[in-house]
Symmetry: C2
Subunit: 331 residues, 2 copies
């Protein structure tokens, strides 16, 4: 996160001779929900991530949008592109009439449940902020990123954007303005991530939930959410394991991910502390206590997808990204 | 809490010449829910409390039950009395065939939302445990108390029994066996409690909730429950204030407590950090940062009940009880 003091690093750019002409920002993928935290918990990964390059160009507003690494599937229409919408959010917020050309380099697989729209939006917001020297604070940047993600995925919550922006394990309190509460994670926590060659459309994953939930499931969910926070803050692995369970979304969404239960069970059998759908899936995450364990769990999960559903998976083994979005280049 | 090492103080009684013949235990009132923690959060008060005297007598099982301080309204039938049911739970669990006479001294107003059934049950369980020297651990005692509370109020959750037993601010994880997670509270926290001359029947307060809740309210609730734990563990009063709100039960239960919204608003206007229904009401609690502030908030809340509804209220200003159930006498 380039804004530890609540100010943008764009302010530092005053040491340069004039404002930057080009800024390149990397924003990491993230696992949201994390069992019990539907729409409120997110955790940033070391990799993969999306990059956004923002360039100062002639004209006013968003002059061009290009996307690579997406197989041609991400819209380049500024009204529908998450990064462009976030950049526009920064322009609107600061009243800037600068011209900006945007290049999005997708590193996060599409529709994977790893927060790709959010990462593009975060990278766009941070890049624009630095390019314009606007010095927006973290909450403002998050709000701009949320504009981008909202149109990209229909989501009106920041459980992917917040960790992608700030790094670490983040609780996002519902309501406006969004408030991020940074939570510690055990230093030895490693994630095993398996992304099968399946796609789950985010909107469909949301409509399947309906508008109401059983009260009993709700009690379990807020008990577990509360317990997970205590577990994280105390490094209490038993408590983390007991609480990182989803009583609300996963039971319904599991049917959109063939083989999910078997894959999750395989992760637990391999020694993972907890496992579940990343966001709306189809990616499955497992929380592990060592890298060796995470590697074993990831292979076993991928094996289960292969045996049960006949699909191959990409595997990611990642520590927690504690930095969030990062400026890679500024010139 | 007389069981800090997980063993009953009954074990200490071996220093006596023979087992005790009489044990008197005080278990404190408690505020449950605390805004966002329906069925999972509870907080013990310094006062009032219920006492249970358990005596070893001729015969087997529960030989007699008497109750004072209740205006004749608490059942003395051992099958319906919370303390007696908890004592029976201890007898059953330990296989004891001892005879026990039970005397319940109610100090907590009935149907007030201050955990009276739970306190009687806890006091009964602890008294029986010490009388019999059975040395049950905390979880076992809680389970015995829950038997008592379940029949007394229809409740199948330990959000009052747990703090009454263990003291402090307790998160009770749903599921069996119940797991208590002790949470810290800011040392300066003082509660203002106002118990109006109204009654809310616990069962009615539960049926009004129905079986389902809006998903949106659920997200708010588990976000706030998670945030409240972080706020308590960090002594972050701003976070506590933002999160100690009930999106689920209070909006529905408020209609059972005439004047509630005005009373709550008066507490906040008087400087309370948060305020809400204690359990199912009609008692209203307010969390304050100083005793002076709590006294002012309590008077203002009682004034609001008087002005808006024409009822008088009992006022309690209490710090957090950090000890839980306490053995007052053992001979």
């Amino acid at each position: 996160m380039p804004h530890r003091d609540g100010r943008s690093r764009g302010a530092d750019m005053s040491r340069r001779d004039g404002p930057p002409r080009m800024v390149r920002v990397l924003a990491p993928a993230s696992v949201s929900n994390l069992g019990c935290g539907f729409d409120i918990f997110g955790l940033a990964l070391e990799r993969p991530g999306d990059e956004v390059v923002a360039r100062a160009v002639e004209g006013s507003g968003i002059v061009s949008v290009s996307v690579s690494g997406d197989g041609g599937r991400v819209p380049t229409d500024p009204e529908r592109n998450a990064a462009a919408l976030a950049v526009q959010g920064v322009l609107d917020r600061t009243g800037s009439e600068a011209g900006v050309a945007i290049e999005v380099r997708k590193g996060i697989p599409l529709a994977s449940g790893l927060g790709g729209s959010a990462a593009s939006a975060v990278a766009g917001a941070v890049a624009a902020d630095v390019l314009l020297g606007s010095g927006l604070d973290r909450t403002a940047l998050l709000e701009c990123a949320m504009i981008g993600e909202r149109k990209g995925s229909g989501a009106d919550h920041a459980d992917n954007a917040a960790p992608s922006l700030a790094g670490g394990f983040v609780l996002v309190l519902p309501g406006l303005p969004p408030r991020m509460v940074m939570l510690p994670t055990p230093s030895d926590l490693v994630l095993a991530i398996v992304h099968p060659a399946l796609e789950v459309e985010t909107r469909r994953a949301r409509t399947i939930l309906g508008d109401t939930i059983p009260l009993k499931a709700g009690v379990e969910q807020w008990g577990n959410a509360a317990g997970l926070v205590a577990g994280l803050m105390r490094d209490d692995w038993d408590l983390i394991a007991r609480c990182m369970r989803d009583a609300v979304a996963e039971p319904l969404r599991a049917r959109l991910v063939p083989g999910f239960e078997g894959v999750r069970d395989r992760a637990l059998a391999a020694g993972a502390v907890a496992a579940g759908l990343s966001g709306s899936g189809p990616t499955v995450f497992a929380i592990c206590r060592t890298r060796d364990n995470a590697e074993a769990a990831a292979l076993d999960m991928a094996g289960a997808f292969r045996e049960e559903v006949g699909v191959e998976s990409d595997i990611i083994v990642s520590s927690v990204n504690r930095e969030g979005a990062r400026i890679l280049e500024c010139s």
